[in-house]
């Protein structure tokens, strides 16, 4: 999932936690940057000089690919380069989305408290959907087992003083799809038909 960020990137992104998604007006990306981001979104080629190969595909020199990527990283458009782990496959068999109903004025303080734990991988405030859905603070807990997740949760509740807050634990039963986000989607014929 996007919205993920390594600790190392946190410092370069100090203001994001305050910015609602819709408030940002982005300058349009240069055409060459768009082509570059589209060319690498599915992954880097496993060849000795991957950026030369990417450049060859889109008509840019290796050095220009590297310069543009450095710039895109500095601008925070690329959060990080690296591997994305399927947590099940490395032994984190249990993941739960824990949702909390937190008074609006306490959300920020509690969100920051939860985000400190290393077993928490995402922590967001999201809108309530009353009456069906009262929860406004979400966090993802990963553990090696459900017992592990529950133990983490108990620790968090005590540490952050959450005993009185309504919450629910939504374990995942099945993962249907985990391929990461694709931001550059060539409109396929089938997609257009679906939209029609």
């Amino acid at each position: 999932m996007t919205g993920r960020m390594s600790a190392a990137n946190r410092a370069s992104d100090p203001d994001m936690s305050l910015a609602p998604q819709t408030a940002r007006n982005q300058p349009p990306l240069a055409e060459a940057d768009r082509r570059l981001l589209a060319a690498i979104q599915d992954g880097l080629p496993l060849v000795a000089r991957p950026f030369a190969e990417i450049g060859a595909r889109i008509g840019l020199a290796e050095a220009e690919v590297i310069t543009r990527l450095e710039h895109l990283k500095q601008a925070g458009i690329i959060r990080r380069f690296g591997v994305v782990v399927r947590h099940h496959e490395v032994g984190y068999g249990a993941n739960a989305m824990v949702v909390w109903d937190v008074p609006d004025e306490q959300v920020r303080e509690l969100g920051r408290c939860l985000a400190e734990f290393d077993f928490i991988t995402l922590c967001y405030r999201r809108p309530r959907h009353l009456p069906q859905w009262r929860y406004n603070l979400y966090c993802m807990i990963h553990g090696k087992s459900r017992e592990d997740v529950h133990a983490h949760l108990e620790w968090m509740v005590n540490h952050c003083g959450l005993q009185s807050l309504p919450h629910e634990v939504l374990f995942s039963r099945r993962r249907f799809k985990q391929r990461g986000a694709a931001y550059f989607i060539e409109p396929p014929v089938a997609g257009e038909a679906r939209e029609g």
Binding site: M1, T2, G3, R4, M5, S6, D13, S17, P20, Q21, Q26, L29, Q41, D42, G43, L44, L46, A48, R49, P50, F51, I66, G76, I77, R79, R80, F81, G82, V83, V84, V85, R86, E89, V90, Y92, G111, A115, L122, C123, Y124, R125, R126, P127, H129, W133, E168, L170, S172, R173, R175, F176, K177, Q178, R179, G180, A181, A182, Y183, G191, E195
Partner: protein, 147 residues
């Protein structure tokens, strides 16, 4: 998975260098060769330990849209709906969860406006309401799985 696989995973979650010969640079850090590192990455991707190897984009800074959405689907209709939802290229991942709202998926789109269009298309194609739960505020965490 052996010690080198684990070292590769733990080392490359944090970052991959952007330079002429990045595999060689990482391999040097890990005490192996560029060829072996590429071969290992290929296997880890092939066997599903890694879902991808490449850039993670910042949807909003890219000018794109990103949201979490949830649906309540009767058990006997779940498979049919999951198939329809997963067929949308904008659905980045989709989990069945234990709750009345039992299907949770992430949408990533090229533009923010497109989120609403995709949600409307999913509602139309499945016949069920989609609850849009966009991020309002993010509290930062490190994302690392020790392998």
């Amino acid at each position: 998975m052996d010690a080198l696989d684990r070292a590769i995973i733990n080392n490359l979650q944090g970052g991959f260098p952007v330079c002429d010969e990045p595999y060689r640079e990482v391999a040097g850090r890990l005490g192996t060769s560029a060829e072996e590192l590429m071969r290992r990455l290929d296997v880890l991707l092939e066997n599903g330990t890694l879902s991808r190897f490449g850039p993670m984009y910042h949807a909003e800074r890219l000018g794109g849209g990103l949201t979490l959405a949830a649906m309540q689907i009767p058990t006997d209709d779940f498979e049919r709906v999951a198939e329809i939802v997963n067929a949308f290229p904008e659905v980045a991942h989709n989990y069945a969860r234990e709750h009345a709202l039992n299907m949770w998926f992430v949408l990533a789109t090229e533009t923010p406006e497109r989120i609403d269009q995709v949600i409307a298309a999913i509602e139309r194609d499945t016949g069920y309401t989609v609850h849009n739960m966009p991020k309002r505020e993010e509290f930062f965490v490190g994302l690392r799985f020790e392998a």
